[in-house]
Amino acid sequence: MEKPGDHATESETLPHKSNDLENTNHSHESEHQSHNNDSTEKATPESESESESSQLSLTQVMEAVDDFIQSLSSSTDPLQEIPPAVEPFPETVDSLVSKMESSGLGRDETEDSAFIDAVNRISISVMRLRELNLDSTPVSSWLNRASSVQHHAVSLLDEEFRHLLDRSIENNNKKKNDHDESDNNDEREDAFPDFPPESIATLKKIAGAMISAGYETECCMSYETSRRHAFKEELSGMGYEGIVNNVEDVQRIPWESLQGEIASWISIVRRCSSVLLPGEISLCNAVLPEQDHAKIRKRLLTGFLSTVTIRFLDFSGAVVLTKRSSEKLFKFLDMYETLRELALAVEQSDSDLIHEIKLAQTRLGEAAVTIFGELENSIKTDIGRTPVPSGAVHPLTRYTMNYLKYACEYKDTLDQVFQHYEKAESDQTEPEPENQREDDEEYKTSAFARQMIRVMELLDANLEIKSALYRDPSLRSIFLMNNGRYILQKIKGSTEIRDLMGQAWTRKRSTELRQYHKSYQRETWGKVLQCMNQEGLQVNGKVSKTALKERFKIFNNMFDEIHKTQSTWIVNDEQMQSELRVSIAALVIPAYRSFFGRYKQHIDSGRHTDKYVKYQPEDIESVIDDLFDGNPASMGRKRT
């Protein structure tokens, strides 16, 4: 048990000052220092006499309290009275509280520390005494006073806590205004919440003191309220209040406007994921760093994260309920990716929240699958009976390939989405037989690649049907070449699609193109070449003039016909157009040149040459250059 004498000795031997309480303002005392500030020392004769405990410095009193607390746990005899040095402690602390009430915390770190240390001590004293549940009246009376003061003190701490936490909001707003003119926004970007380290230190001390005092609930409520308010303000500042949140109202917004809202939502949620939420998590860890407080911290964080993020899911949930249409696919995927980032940011949260985010993603994914499926439907139902004039690239081909190209920019996300879908499907239906595509690793592993290929195959089948609408087999070939070429170029033009479709698939398409080319040549030019054949021109060793004239006539007619018809045909791809012309020229010109060279003389009878020999070898080239222009040819004679 504590001996009163000890305290009396202490108070006599240590130098004392009067007005200690006022002087704590100016003193540099901390727990570890015990020297006094000379300028404030006032040794008055009266203070050296009896009942000196009121003249003790704060440090000394607190040391006394420490000893007192120690003695409570170690002694066996029930405490009957409070040691004199400790007796006025509640009132001492109370004056401190009043002082702090008017001056506020956060101005002088030493002062704050001293205050909080005092509060801690009174809390511990109260708690220990309450545990002991003593009968003694002086003890009860002291305990009562102490607990009143404790409440007063902790209430102040609570208010200061909230005040400090709120102050950052004002600072943030001030900073925002200041930074409006400056170019460098990067620093501000990364500084949320914006607390100076001194504030954090104070917050940490207050939180610790409140929890030690048993006021954990108040501490957490104040923290939550303040941070939620701050977060809400921050979101407002980013324009979040403008985003329609109401599920019903979202359904009514036309897509053009809704896109804008989605874009805002995406940028806000991303900023939350990358800056704001990590900031809150750091803040919480900084204010409650102790291992002992881990559970409190987790509960606080989880509650906060849930409340603020669930709202984001409301919007995405509302958007995904709107009518499905193909233009929405990419925005949905953007939202999907944004939610993925969000899930990472709230990893530390409880499973309910993460489950909700995943669910929201799944909805978006399912919508994406449905919309993508619409692409397949639109291909299947494109069954016009009118062929595209001039055999050009069909609008369906353009639409499909552009859509797929754009989709490939999201190939990883789409892969995730389709994997999820395939898994869900396979749980319900029987597995389809695997296609043999050994050399295409991408195909085997990528769910999205499988979808792409399905779409391509549907497109191919559709084009096949469309090509059959052409009665002219040459035009059919040109049509298939145009569309095939367009598809191939689109694929080659993008690394993503090319890798996705695989080498073998690309090679196969090139081969097909070559085959169409060959078909065309055969269909159109086979007969032309045939009429320049030497066979049958000689009768009994001599060139038959009749046969020759006939041959020239046939050639001219065919050639003219081809000129007239095929000039109106279109080959969209410039390179392919030139290749075609070159290949035709390579086929026809040498043949004609040799035919012309060999046989022209035989009908060189002066007057009627022109009637039969319509074309000079040079003329052939200019006619060929007219082909596939899409313009009706001027059939007038060209003279070089």
Binding site: L132, N133, N144, H152
Partner: protein
């Protein structure tokens, strides 16, 4: 009636199909009736509008919803012709169900508010925990502060705005501090816009709901049934849980011809009855647990006001007693609130799922 079914049927087995459909629709009516009879039977005294009871109501909704979904699925060929009246009926239901989603989200805010009250009552309980030493003045003050915040927090919306204008805290008055904790808690409504109104939403849910005639064919009756169930469930949630612009004025009436009408109307009447009771007229939510907290905390508040130090033994034991009562309510809330919130969320998800599936098959 058989003839008009035949016109709609695609199947060649018209007759047996008709019988199946009839049986299906009949079974649905029966199921709904059973569920609500059950709920009505377990709605005496303290059970009605308790967390547990509302939980059962939500479970019943989920069951009915499932069966309705199956019916819609089985009739999808009938529905998919976009000009058919059945198509219009069913899409109308799913459009309506979207309004319910906003109610679910608003309820979430209400649950959060109740959680805050839970924390305040937690403070009261730990302050007045007399298992250790006797309660000191400081602890009393602590409890009193929490009780005042709780009372403010539980005010009906209209009263709280009046209070906000009158209340100014002393001490360093900064803008953010003019409000007490209780008022702070109210201002953190996240999920709905400031202009959203629960009662208007209910009215919209109920609007243009035409009662089908006795022998209306096709899906008119199941659609009407499901809509009524949906409306009733949302109405109960709004009645029980604090939410923005609560109001029970929406007229809800189901004609007797339906098997489930009697139990549903009985429950409806009981709840209206409850809302008119003197002590619950101005409360912010009819949830039983809210009433109990309100009562316990009010009693405690009065008790504390009547205490002078040193506390007499009589007062001490009274405090102990009141604390025990408060602990009971607190525990009930603590155990019931999370599962309840999850159920509401489940309802939300089911409505979404159901609508998405059906719409996909409707186009």
């Amino acid at each position: 009636m058989l003839l008009s079914f035949r016109r709609d049927q695609v199947d060649s087995n018209a007759a047996s199909h008709n019988n199946n459909m009839e049986a299906e629709l009949d079974s649905f009516q029966r199921q709904v009736a059973e569920k609500f009879t059950d709920l009505n039977a377990s709605s005496s005294g303290d059970d009605l509008l308790s967390l547990e009871w509302i939980g059962k109501l939500l479970d019943s909704f989920l069951c009915c919803q499932e069966e309705f979904r199956a019916i819609v699925f089985n009739h999808r060929s009938q529905i998919s012709a976009s000009s058919s009246p059945t198509n219009r009926l069913v899409s109308d239901y799913f459009e309506r169900s979207i309004k319910a989603l906003d109610v679910c989200n608003a309820i979430r805010d209400g649950v959060e508010q109740i959680r805050q009250w839970q924390k305040l009552s937690d403070i009261v309980i730990s302050a007045l925990d007399s298992r250790r030493a006797n309660v000191g003045e400081g602890q009393l003050r602590r409890a009193k502060k929490a009780l005042v915040d709780l009372a403010i927090g539980m005010l009906d919306e209209k009263d709280s705005t009046r209070l906000a204008h009158r209340n100014r805290s002393f001490g360093r008055a900064k803008d953010g501090h003019n409000r007490s904790m209780g008022q702070h808690l109210r201002s953190l409504s996240w999920s709905v816009s400031r202009s959203w109104s629960a009662s208007k939403q209910l009215q919209a849910l109920a609007s243009n709901l035409t009662t089908p005639r006795q022998n209306d064919v096709g899906l008119a009756v199941p659609v009407y049934t499901m809509t009524s169930v949906l409306l009733f469930v949302m109405w109960v949630l709004v009645a029980a849980i604090p939410c923005q612009d609560r109001g029970l004025q929406v007229s809800f009436f189901v004609p007797r011809q339906f098997r489930w009408a009697a139990p549903v109307m009985s429950l409806h009447d009981k709840i209206v009855e409850e809302s008119k009771r003197r002590d619950r007229k101005n409360c912010c939510g009819l949830l039983k647990e809210i009433g109990r907290i309100e009562k316990s905390s009010r009693v405690m508040n009065e008790l504390i006001d009547s205490i002078h130090f040193p506390m007499s033994e009589e007062k001490e034991s009274e405090v102990k007693q009141r604390v025990e009562e408060l602990v009971e309510v607190h525990e009930a809330l603590k155990n019931g609130l999370d599962p309840f919130e999850r159920k509401v969320r489940e309802v939300f998800h089911r409505i979404v799922r159901s609508r998405t599936e059906s719409l996909d098959s409707l186009c």
